[in-house]
């Protein structure tokens, strides 16, 4: 597989989180499904999506939130 890198997946996820900010909270699974749909399951799998999410969170570009369920969102300071 993988002429798509984890970084590319992470960047694409980040754009999606930004696009949906204020409209819909996205769960890890929403991001995963969207990426597999976008890049194709021969290019991107569950593991890569997990790694990409971890990159987004560990770098501080995104953070987890909880509203009756866990979501991946922009950190509060970036949304002011």
């Amino acid at each position: 597989m993988s002429d798509v890198s984890v970084e590319t997946v992470a960047d694409t996820m980040y754009d999606m989180v930004k696009e949906y900010h204020g409209k819909k909270n996205l769960k890890a699974l929403d991001l995963q499904k969207a990426m597999i749909k976008k890049f194709g399951d021969d290019k991107v799998d569950k593991k890569m999506c997990k790694a990409a999410i971890r990159q987004l969170i560990d770098s501080g570009k995104c953070t987890y939130s909880y509203v009756g369920g866990s979501y991946i969102v922009l950190p509060p300071e970036k949304t002011e």
Binding site: Q32, V67, G69, S70
Partner: protein, 394 residues
Amino acid sequence: MTEKRQTPKLDELTKGPWPSFVTEMKKVQDNPMVNDLLGQLERSYNEKIGHWKHGGIVGVMGYGGGVIGRYNDLPDDFPECNEFHTIRVNQPAGWFYDSKTIRKICDIWEKRGSGLTNFHGSTGDMVLLGTRTKELEPLFSDLTSIDFDLGGSGSDVRTPSCCNGKARCEWACYDTMKICHEVTMHFQDELHRPAFPYKWKFKFSGCANDCVASIARSDCAVIGTWKDEIKIDQKALQEHYVNGGGVDIARDVVNRCPSRCMSWDGTKLEIANEDCVKCMHCINVLHKALRPGDERGAAILIGGKAPIIGGALLAFTLIPFIDIENSLEDIYEVVEEIWDLWGEYGKNRERIGEFIQRIGLGNFLEQVGLEPAPEMISHPRTNPYIFFELDGEE
């Protein structure tokens, strides 16, 4: 510090023989956070309403679980407990501690928070009750420096818990503490980084007495059981339970057996083991004479939960018997199959028990690659509305 909050209503609860949570709070009232917490709680007692707000985005770097954000709605009146977040700390299996460790935890919590705890929370975690956002990272660092990590919260694997099993119980049919610890370590990523439709709880009980309430309170309950015969020591039976011992064997044991598999002629107890459902009652009562068999393992039950939202469910048998201590890899495989399916089709806030009811147990089994078995149901369907699949039929 500011003036000590007066709490006449709460003071009523320092009286009486049962240990008092108010007394606990007063023991650390010198902490300004606790002083304001007492003031706020007294206000709730007067107004009959809570003063905590809903959540908030707080946590430690990289984790989505383990910290519950909590703010009050009276920041002007009780500023010191305006930020009062909860930290869930993963307890050691079986809730065993030594004094050195308890003191280290106390020292950290004195420095970083309110000094109030729950030993333990409902799921099993050690709960540190009340700290500020700025303390979260230093607190996490302090905790990991003494080898503690955070527990779960949100849509993740919640902190697993277990009974004390082989550590101090003759009925443990498998090593609950070992399995609980291994499962906790195996699913660290799933525990700290929420990626499910909703929470997933594991609980491990060594026998059907189920001291950690796994059947009611976990999505995956592992309950110890055995395959072979109940071991009877007829001599001990005579010695301890005939003519004394406070037990009427016929009335209290044989007649209370749910599978009617026992007989007692006044001298000899016989058990038709093929009919025994391993409920534990006879062993509980005649504990000096009866023991679980030697071929021990566990049943895996799925789908227990409290009412929100589709109603309360007890877990049901998915695997009636497995040699759990030698089959953990198989369990991981099944569990991950289930998570994949639930992740793909589960709705937000839908627990696995509700999900299975929605899609149907038959479909669920097919999807996760398990064969239907009569142990999974209390009886076959009574309605004739069968979805026949004619493809592939001769």
